[in-house]
């Protein structure tokens, strides 16, 4: 049978507020256990939540970025369940009146087309703490540093049909929230987590099949792998005539398999009701408009502009606009050099390779945009050839040279990479090369006219060896001239 895959994602993004959503504790990552948990975070008797308005501002920003309806009245509800890392015995979240309603984003497919995915809603809620199961002699420890960190939970419509689409959607959301500066996007620290809802149905059938939910997948690659693994598992069951159990599953990346966490039958009745400790959040159009005015250029707009203003191809523009810092870096370097194509090639080539190799982010790259811009300018005005530029770039990566554009110039000098474009100087070098290699000259002269272009190769190599930094174009011209005179 031919199956259609139905995928919906729930993405939790931690908002980059300084303090928690309902208390003044810091949200910084990595502190000693329970040092960032005050009486409110601990859920002590008598404490009350106070809503952090910065979280509201960020959520509205997100809503505007995905062209969504903004909830002018949103309400916090209590979701009741017992778990040790949930200190109050309920999670404060938004069920019926979320801050962000229906919106949408466009994702790019590999064939270069884009596809619109609708976003059902996004709501504000508090993160839970963490249970620590190692190092307590068979007991569990609870770390409440993370408890109360603000989250937006972004719920997609079940509109994705392949694991690749789901990964592209997750990537695009990552790109949007980091562009907005509302989430640091650090997947390894759990700043963004993804729950994947997967089901299969016979092609052409309208009704959805039974779905499973894969919890807390935390990388783009694993979203794709986990979903593919789950699709295969479900398909095997269905092909054998079995049925899917609605349940929550966990993805084990090491074994590349999903396994059952808990089945729906024993799941809690969450007994949602409006939180009586918090007033409904009422905002007006003026408030929304003021936030709208602060929105940065978003990935899609930047991509379009890179194509129209800088003449980049769709793929180049898409790659360079996917990450705000990378885009900013590219644009700054390109603006200095005035050549967007060379800048694009460099950023996607040497710069990206260096980032991957060193496993660092663009903000940590030792070569600043100013320095790259300078380097590209030097290529453009023929002061450096490509090889020389790479040498300077690598020297900068190694921490050599001084800051700023001057640092680039100094390295060019000290490494003796300045390209010689002076015809007179090159003529002398070429003459010397020809004089030193009479056998090669003989061979060349014996070559038939139509093959002489290729036979010129050894002379070019020897000339460039004799004088680093000679302009290859000038060398060609001079060689042609000199050889034709023989």
């Amino acid at each position: 049978m031919e199956w259609e895959v139905v995928i919906g994602l729930e993405i939790h993004a931690q908002l980059a507020t300084k303090s928690k959503i309902f208390s003044g504790s810091s949200t910084a990552y990595g502190a000693e256990a329970n040092t960032q948990a005050n009486a409110v975070d601990l859920g002590l008797p008598g404490v009350l939540p106070v809503f952090n308005e910065e979280a509201l501002r960020m959520a509205v920003k997100f809503g505007l970025a995905i062209d969504a309806e903004i909830g002018m009245k949103s309400v916090f509800d209590r979701k009741n369940y017992f778990y040790p890392d949930s200190p109050k015995g309920y999670q404060t979240t938004q069920l019926h009146h979320p801050i962000v309603g229906m919106g949408h984003i466009d994702i790019e497919l590999e064939n270069g087309e884009s596809r619109r995915i609708n976003v059902t809603r996004a709501h504000l809620e508090e993160d839970a703490g963490k249970s620590v199961h190692e190092g307590f002699d068979g007991m569990s420890g609870i770390d409440l540093n993370r408890a109360g960190t603000p989250l937006v939970e972004i719920v997609s419509e079940p509109e994705m049909r392949t694991a690749k689409e789901a990964a592209a959607y997750f990537k695009k959301m990552h790109s949007i929230v980091t562009y907005l500066g509302i989430c640091d996007g650090d997947l390894s620290q759990g700043s963004m987590r993804c729950d994947c809802n997967v089901s299969l149905r016979p092609k052409g059938q309208e009704e959805f099949g039974t779905r499973t939910e894969i919890k807390n997948v935390n990388s783009f690659r694993n979203v794709e792998r986990a979903i593919n693994t789950e699709i295969q598992r479900q398909m095997d069951i269905l092909e054998d005539g079995g049925s899917i159990t609605q349940e929550t599953r966990l993805y084990d990346a090491d074994k590349d398999e999903t396994r059952s966490m808990r089945s729906k039958e024993v799941e809690n009745d969450y007994r949602y009701f409006p939180c009586p400790d918090l007033l409904p959040i009422i905002i007006d159009q003026e408030y929304v408009d003021a936030i709208k005015a602060t929105l940065p250029e978003l990935p899609d707009a930047k991509k379009a502009r890179f194509q129209s203003e800088h003449g980049l191809s769709l793929m180049d523009a898409a790659v360079l606009s996917s990450d705000r810092q990378l885009a900013d870096y590219f644009e700054a370097a390109a603006n200095i050099s005035g050549d967007y194509k060379i800048a694009a090639n460099w950023v996607m080539g040497d710069v990206s390779a260096a980032l991957n190799r060193l496993e660092i982010s663009i903000s940590e790259l030792p070569v600043t945009a100013e320095q790259l811009g300078r380097l590209l300018s030097l290529i453009k005005d023929n002061t450096l050839n490509n090889g020389g530029a790479k040498e300077v770039f690598n020297a900068l990566l190694d921490g050599k040279g001084t800051d700023g554009a001057e640092g680039v110039d100094a390295l060019v000098d000290s490494l003796g990479l300045k390209q010689v474009s002076d015809t007179g100087a090159i003529e002398e070098i070429v003459a010397q090369v020809l004089a030193d290699n009479p056998k090669l000259v003989e061979g060349y002269l014996a070559t038939p006219e139509e093959k002489r272009g290729k036979a010129m190769g050894p002379f070019i190599g020897l000339t460039r060896k004799a004088a680093k930094g000679v302009n290859p174009q000038v060398v060609m011209d001079v060689l042609k001239q000199k050889l034709s005179e023989l």
Binding site: L42, L44, P45, L48, P87, G89, D269, R271, P276, D277
Partner: protein, 483 residues
């Protein structure tokens, strides 16, 4: 010294008649001698009280005294007190020393008051007789075989017994007004949002309100001057100017229109009780007030609505008592499920469990609309009754309770019978309105309370009306016969 009011003590301390240390010692002695029969205190903080008293005397000597400097009082054990046991009347919190002060506690500390300790109460403020305390029942100082009312039974009994001139209390369905009426003292439940709930252990968050128990309306005004006001730590507290409640106590009430709800004077109220309340109304007429019959047609829905909303909220509010981070934890839990079940099973009393069960049921999938949502709709109707009534009248008056103090054990077998104790008080909590209980008579030598109901944030008028009544009568000055 023990029957003095806050106002009198404040004046005496200012005049140097005695020091704060002297009256504090005197009251502590009285507590240690007599409270074994009343059981109004869960914790007496003798050492802390004496050091506060000494500090107050030193401040006074240095010329830094205000109305409250050195005045003794005590807190209901629902308010968190830094470093002091805060039990909420429950085994669950029998080992809980709060690491912080409730806003109300901070305010009294800052005002220079001296706290003698923490007062007994029904467990987690659930009850109308103070028989639901892990620390044992409280006796009514008028008759030790009778209940003091609840849940602020310790507060009412302590003031009536002359242990403290004033006490903090809380009222979710009548928990200030009903015990005040049963103990012959004055109790004020302010408008919802008038006083911070921060640090006050939540029973039903949308109904809970801190208030006062004192001998007189004047003393209640003095307590309100300390307690009232917006608190950034409580999102439901209201940012609104706080008047000087003592400034308007003596205003004339000539021409004030009193509304008498027909629904409050029906068969549920005995003829004796009715007579006492009617006498009090007549007193107001003598002072120039006008009386008008009004109707609050949804009164009969208040108890059913309350017993859906309050348990629903409490079922979530009490979830944090899970034995994980504080409070009672069972011995040798075998896993987390066992830890939850046994810690909560052992830590909570019967009534608390009953309400958690009722609330969990009312909020369950499939029942929410029929119970919780419906109850909220009823709540709006009840509020609208009052809003309409206040278009025509300045104040509403009626009984506080259907009967005077009943015998211990008399109503414990039938929860619904007990719930009916709050039939006249509970609607105010649903509406969020302020209410006050003022001693207005006696039946069989047991005190009877008159309930004054004000419009939103009209506490000053309640205190004014209460004070004028107390200027004209002496019911509030009667001394309990059982102690």
């Amino acid at each position: 010294m023990h029957n003095k009011t806050i106002a009198e003590i404040s004046r005496d301390l200012a005049a140097g008649t005695y020091s704060s240390e002297e009256i504090t010692k005197d009251l502590l002695t009285r507590v240690s001698k007599l409270d074994k029969d009343i059981n109004s205190f869960i914790t007496v903080t003798e050492e802390q009280a004496l050091s506060q008293a000494k500090a107050a005397d030193a401040n006074r000597a240095a010329g830094n005294a205000s109305a409250w400097t050195g005045v003794p009082m005590a807190h209901k054990d629902i308010f968190c007190t830094n470093g002091v046991l805060t039990t909420c009347g429950s085994k669950m919190l029998s080992n809980f020393e709060a690491p912080y002060d409730a806003t109300v506690v901070t305010k009294f500390n800052d005002a220079g008051a001296v706290s003698l300790g923490k007062l007994n109460m029904d467990e987690f403020a659930m009850g109308s007789s103070n028989e639901n305390s892990f620390y044992g029942p409280v006796a009514n100082p008028w008759d030790k075989d009778r209940v003091p009312g609840g849940s602020s039974g310790g507060s009412a009994a302590a003031v009536a017994a002359g242990f403290v001139p004033g006490a903090t209390a809380t009222d979710t369905g009548g928990s200030i007004r009903q015990p005040a009426a049963l103990c012959g003292v004055t109790g004020l439940k302010p408008t919802y949002g008038r006083i911070s709930r921060y640090g006050m252990i939540a029973y039903a968050s949308s109904l809970d309100q801190a208030g006062t128990i004192t001998h007189t309306a004047e003393d209640a005004a003095m307590m309100m001057n300390v307690m009232a006001g917006f608190d950034a730590k409580d999102s439901t507290s209201v940012d609104r100017d706080v008047p000087d409640y003592t400034a308007t106590l003596d205003n004339s009430i000539e021409g004030m229109t009193i509304g008498l709800p027909t629904e409050y004077f029906r068969d549920d109220l005995s003829a004796d009780m009715q007579q006492q309340v009617r006498n009090a109304i007549a007193e107001y007429e003598k002072m120039g007030a006008k009386v008008k019959e009004i109707s609050l047609p949804n009164t009969h829905l208040a108890i059913p609505a309350y017993y859906v909303i309050a348990p629903s909220e409490c079922s979530a509010n009490l979830s944090r008592m899970d034995g994980v981070r504080f409070g009672h934890r069972c011995e040798d839990p075998k896993d987390i499920e066992d830890l939850y079940c046994r810690s909560r099973g052992e830590g909570f009393g019967e009534e608390v469990k009953r309400r958690i069960m009722v609330g969990s049921y009312a909020l369950s999938a499939g029942f929410y609309d029929a119970y919780y949502k419906k109850a909220q709709q009823v709540r709006r109707l009840i509020k609208n009754d009052f809003v309409t009534a206040f278009n025509d009248v300045d104040i509403i008056m009626g009984p506080v309770t259907p009967t005077p103090a009943f015998k211990r054990g008399e109503k414990t077998s039938d929860p619904v019978e007990m719930y009916l104790e709050d039939i006249f008080t509970i609607a105010l909590n649903l509406a969020g309105l302020p209410g006050m209980s003022v001693p207005c008579g006696a039946v069989n030598n047991l005190p009877v309370g008159l309930q004054l109901i004000g419009n939103f944030f009209d506490e000053a008028r309640l205190l004014n009306a209460g004070h004028k009544f107390q200027q004209a009568t002496d019911w509030h000055l009667k001394t309990p016969t059982g102690i």
